[in-house]
């Protein structure tokens, strides 16, 4: 809602951001107001630029300002291996490990009928098109081990079955450096049931 008072408008706009309440919003608004014009100008143009220029990668639905994202364009990445993630921050987390050399597919959400999110609301159709177009060797489903993350993984598994592509799920279990005594029982029992043979 727009009012006639610009400060109120700014505060209202800021409270729409996640994690920002009325008080923080008004602190930010007055901070911006008291800074040199440059700050407000940079902020405004960065906001508009990001909305105008950044869109979905035509291959993997990662955020990018080009037609294809940097990862899809990198010549060394294994194009036959796709890691499916819920969101761009999740993609970035996996990228930071430096361990994964394939490409990604970003779903932009998880299935949740309760919140009105069905498969059609996610970038699943794009994934299926992609499977039809190129020879994919392995799909790694890296959604979180929550009910929705598991449901999405299971749904994908059923959906791609006709393609006869190897599909794997990331392991969930005990964090490195974790002290067994302090790990919750669920994580521990899951880790036990997914144990692997040594040698």
């Amino acid at each position: 809602m727009q009012t006639r008072d610009p400060i109120t408008n700014l505060i209202n706009a800021l409270t729409k951001l996640p994690g920002i309440g009325e008080r923080t919003a008004s602190r930010l608004a007055f901070f911006i107001l008291n800074q040199p014009d440059e700050l407000a100008e940079n902020l405004a143009s960065a906001l508009i630029e990001v909305k105008q220029q950044v869109g979905y990668c035509t291959q993997c639905c990662n955020l990018t300002k080009d037609e294809r994202c940097m990862i899809c364009q990198a010549p060394k990445r294994n194009q036959n291996m796709i890691c499916i993630v819920e969101s761009t921050p999740d993609l970035r987390a996996i990228e930071r490990t430096g361990e994964f050399h394939g490409t990604y597919h970003v779903l932009h959400g998880l299935i949740s009928p309760l919140e009105g999110v069905g498969p059609d609301d996610l970038r699943i159709r794009e994934l299926i098109t992609r499977l039809g177009q190129s020879k994919i060797e392995e799909l790694i489903v890296a959604t979180s081990p929550s009910v929705n993350g598991e449901a999405t993984a299971l749904y994908l598994q059923k959906l791609v079955k006709p393609f006869e592509i190897k599909i794997t799920r990331i392991a969930s279990g005990i964090p490195i450096g974790g002290d067994l005594e302090y790990i919750d029982r669920v994580t521990l029992s899951r880790a036990l049931s997914q144990r692997r043979e040594l040698n």
Partner: protein
């Protein structure tokens, strides 16, 4: 399991109290409406976070106070813990050794209690949800990981119901996804329930015979429309899967999940006749008492610990010989800590290992 210290602040009608309970018997006595049940409720809340009586957070906070604070020093076979519960009108916060507990499932099991009070006859007379709650709570007392399974089940059930409700034409792959999850968690719940009942029912029967006499045979059965004779988790899963298949048409028209552990029940009989339909008041009470005692024995046998027993005004509801039995049992057949409330001290058939408190207008006075 032992409460060594209990601190109460601005809870119900208790402004401020600190007690150091006896490791065996603790009796709170006083007139009606003085705060006896409130003390048991405080202990119960420190274990279960939710109360045994229907209430809002505001009901628990002393009139005109901001929040209520409950704290217990608990000894669990040598290791000590401080459990603290803060009750605000907007919610509750739990602390273990001063660390805020983020996920309640890491907390449950810190204090185990079994409660028996006048409201408990509703367990047998009322609807099935109270009986499911009894059995699930008993399992979870012994096996805290069960809380996770039932949480997940509830969540899957909600998603599945939302799918059935919203979509006119349901994506068959999506439905089969939720069916798989539903069967996975649902079959585990039922498997745990059956496993529990296997040892629980014989204990219940022998306890009931002790309370009344050998001419009475108590029986309890898991009652479910879809389970058949399934015993293993695999069989249970197969049955549940088939039950979903068979209820497709009904689900289509009613638009929610019509079968599963969330609709199952426990049936109770006395000498082969439905207790609910034919049992007397006293037989109902005796049966519930036998269930609670069997639960304690079960925990003791399987897991080698005694839960804390809370007895709210029980004696006034039992006849002389049933009351005698109860005290015989807590004296000789269990070694855990017991908290008892009463209006009459002569109901209490105990003479040693005992501490009395008088409750008067929310004040707890040692005596």
């Amino acid at each position: 399991m032992l409460i060594e210290g209990l601190r109460i602040r601005d809870f119900r009608n208790i402004e401020k109290a600190f007690i150091e309970p006896h490791h065996r018997f603790n009796v709170f006595w006083g007139l009606n409406g003085q705060g006896k049940t409130n003390i048991l409720e405080a202990i119960y809340l420190l274990s279960a976070v939710k109360s045994f009586r229907p209430q809002t957070n505001n009901d628990l906070i002393r009139f005109h106070s901001l929040n209520a604070q409950l704290e217990a020093k608990v000894d669990r076979g040598g290791s000590e813990r401080i459990v603290r519960l803060e009750i605000h009108s907007k919610g509750k916060a739990v602390f273990l050794n001063d660390q805020k507990v983020k996920n309640l499932r890491d907390f449950f099991g810190s204090i185990n209690v079994v409660m028996f009070g006048p409201e408990d006859v509703r367990l047998l007379k009322g609807g099935p949800s109270a009986r499911r709650k009894f059995i699930d709570r008993a399992i979870f007392n012994a096996f805290p990981g069960f809380a996770f399974v039932s949480q997940q089940y509830e969540e899957v059930l909600k998603q599945r119901n939302a799918l059935l409700k919203k979509e006119a034409k349901i994506d068959p792959i999506l439905l089969s996804t939720y069916n798989d999850q539903f069967v996975e968690f649902g079959s585990e719940i039922v498997f745990r329930r059956l496993t529990f009942l296997e040892t629980f029912i014989p204990t219940l029967q022998s306890t009931f015979e002790d309370i009344f006499d050998a001419s009475f045979t108590a029986h309890m059965e898991y009652s479910s429309q879809w389970l058949g004779e399934a015993k293993t988790q695999k069989d249970i899963a197969d049955h549940l899967d088939r039950a979903l298949e068979n209820s497709v048409a009904e689900e289509r028209s009613r638009r929610f999940t019509v079968v599963g552990p969330h609709r199952d029940d426990l049936s109770t009989q006395l000498n082969g006749k439905s207790l609910k339909a034919f049992g007397s008041q006293g037989q109902h009470r005796g049966f519930v008492l036998a269930m609670k005692i069997a639960e304690i024995k079960y925990l003791k046998e399987r897991y080698h610990f005694s839960p804390i027993l809370l007895l709210d005004d029980v004696s006034s509801e039992l006849d002389r010989s049933r009351n005698q039995f109860l005290f015989e049992f807590i004296r000789h057949e269990m070694d855990g800590q017991v908290f008892i409330t009463t209006t009459h001290r002569d109901y209490i058939l105990l003479d040693e290992d005992l501490r009395y408190w008088e409750i008067d207008g929310g004040q707890i006075k040692p005596d």
